[in-house]
């Protein structure tokens, strides 16, 4: 992979070991705090402003993240893909993480995941269910749907995951270079998991704590959206099945 940066851009990398990709869509009230915490830990944050209509962009700039702004809204999958490409183009980070902008993830968990990936893994995925279920509070309906989804997506992949839809992930630069998300909406999560758990990669999970605040709950996707995701996946699979 092209690891050398253009000379003029080299100072931007800030020689950070980890680049954090953060999709941002109308999160002006919280995003600066989330970014600052990560920047203070010595990471470079790539905030992908997904066509926000509030003043998220100013908040991102103030907090000291690298801002990439979509001219139109592309959805979370589109933002993640842009972030992965930006991280490779603008930084020389060895590890690339994804992190939610609404403050539901803990920087401490990410630090733990960085320690874990250094033990020789390619992919470390955050899981809410690894730790005996206890740490993350959620409704039984959400829990059940997530568990069923996890079972469905586990079929056919070699790695058994306990949590299919967690936004906290950490991959090596080499793995990030291989990611090419086609779904731009929310179905990207399962598509991403499919890429990340494909065979020669060494994949592991790390227990994380997700904080469902009033804010993140109001921003979170309604459960009905799982129908959209499922339909997207099915039609995408029919379209691409056994296609070269």
């Amino acid at each position: 992979m092209n690891r050398t940066l253009p000379v003029a851009l080299a100072p931007l990398s800030r020689r950070a070991e980890t680049a954090v990709v953060m999709p941002v869509y109308n999160e002006a009230t919280v995003v600066a705090g989330v970014i600052r915490e990560l920047v203070d830990l010595g990471m470079v944050v790539i905030a992908v402003d997904d066509g926000s209509s509030d003043h998220s962009a100013e908040e991102i700039d103030k907090a000291g993240a690298v801002r990439v702004t979509h001219p139109i809204n592309l959805g979370q999958g589109g933002a993640l893909q842009t972030g992965f490409e930006a991280a490779q183009r603008f930084t020389d980070a060895k590890y690339i993480a994804t992190f939610d902008a609404d403050g539901q993830h803990q920087a401490q968990d990410l630090l733990g995941m960085i320690e874990k990936i250094k033990q020789g893994y390619d992919v470390v995925l955050g899981s809410r269910f690894l730790d005996g279920d206890a740490r993350t509070e959620m409704s039984w309906l959400r829990r059940t749907i997530l568990k069923v989804a996890t079972k469905v997506f586990n079929r056919g992949s070699e790695v058994r995951l306990t949590d299919a839809h967690n936004g906290l992930r950490l991959v090596t630069r080499e793995v990030a270079a291989k990611i090419d998300l086609a779904h731009i909406g929310m179905a990207h999560a399962s598509e991403l998991e499919q890429v990340l758990t494909s065979s020669p990669l060494r994949v592991t999970e790390y227990p994380v704590h997700v904080l469902y605040t009033e804010y993140s709950r109001s921003k979170g996707q309604p459960l009905l959206n799982s129908i959209n995701i499922l339909a997207d996946i099915v039609s995408h699979r029919i379209t691409t099945w056994s296609r070269k």
Binding site: P11, V68, T69, I72, L74, G78, S235
Partner: protein, 131 residues
């Protein structure tokens, strides 16, 4: 009833084939062929209503108009599916375009920042030269 053996596979085929139709010359030609055939069949069924009725009798449908309805339903399923595939491809293209715009704009802004930093006589410039 022959119609049941014809319609069920036809619906399944319409869904699968349409979702797998590519936005290629072949796919476009197929869509146009189907549209053309629908028009021809429509005209023929107007000119010779008896043909439609005898086809209906053969396949076990009571009325010729019912048969027409079934065939139209299958055609619509196919067209909706293939249009949605086309729409998705269009969307993917637009996504790539927007992404390149975003990355290009960010790079230009970052370069401008670097130039500013190196021009400044502050210790910032030393830092950027060192790397």
């Amino acid at each position: 009833m022959i119609i049941q053996f014809l319609l069920v596979p036809a619906v399944v085929l319409a869904v699968v084939l349409s979702l797998r139709s590519r936005n290629s010359v072949r796919g476009q030609a197929r869509r146009k062929l189907i549209a053309g055939l629908t028009v021809v069949a429509g005209v023929l069924s107007v000119l010779f209503p008896g043909v439609l009725q005898s086809l209906a009798d053969w396949s076990g449908v009571t009325r010729g108009t019912d048969l027409l309805l079934y065939v139209l339903a299958v055609v619509i399923i196919y067209l909706v599916g293939s249009v949605s595939v086309r729409f998705r491809e269009q969307e993917a293209r637009m996504t790539r375009l927007a992404r390149q715009v975003a990355l290009g704009e960010a790079e230009a802004r970052l370069r401008a920042d670097v130039v500013e930093a190196t021009v400044l006589p502050a210790d910032l410039s030393k830092d950027s030269r060192a790397s």
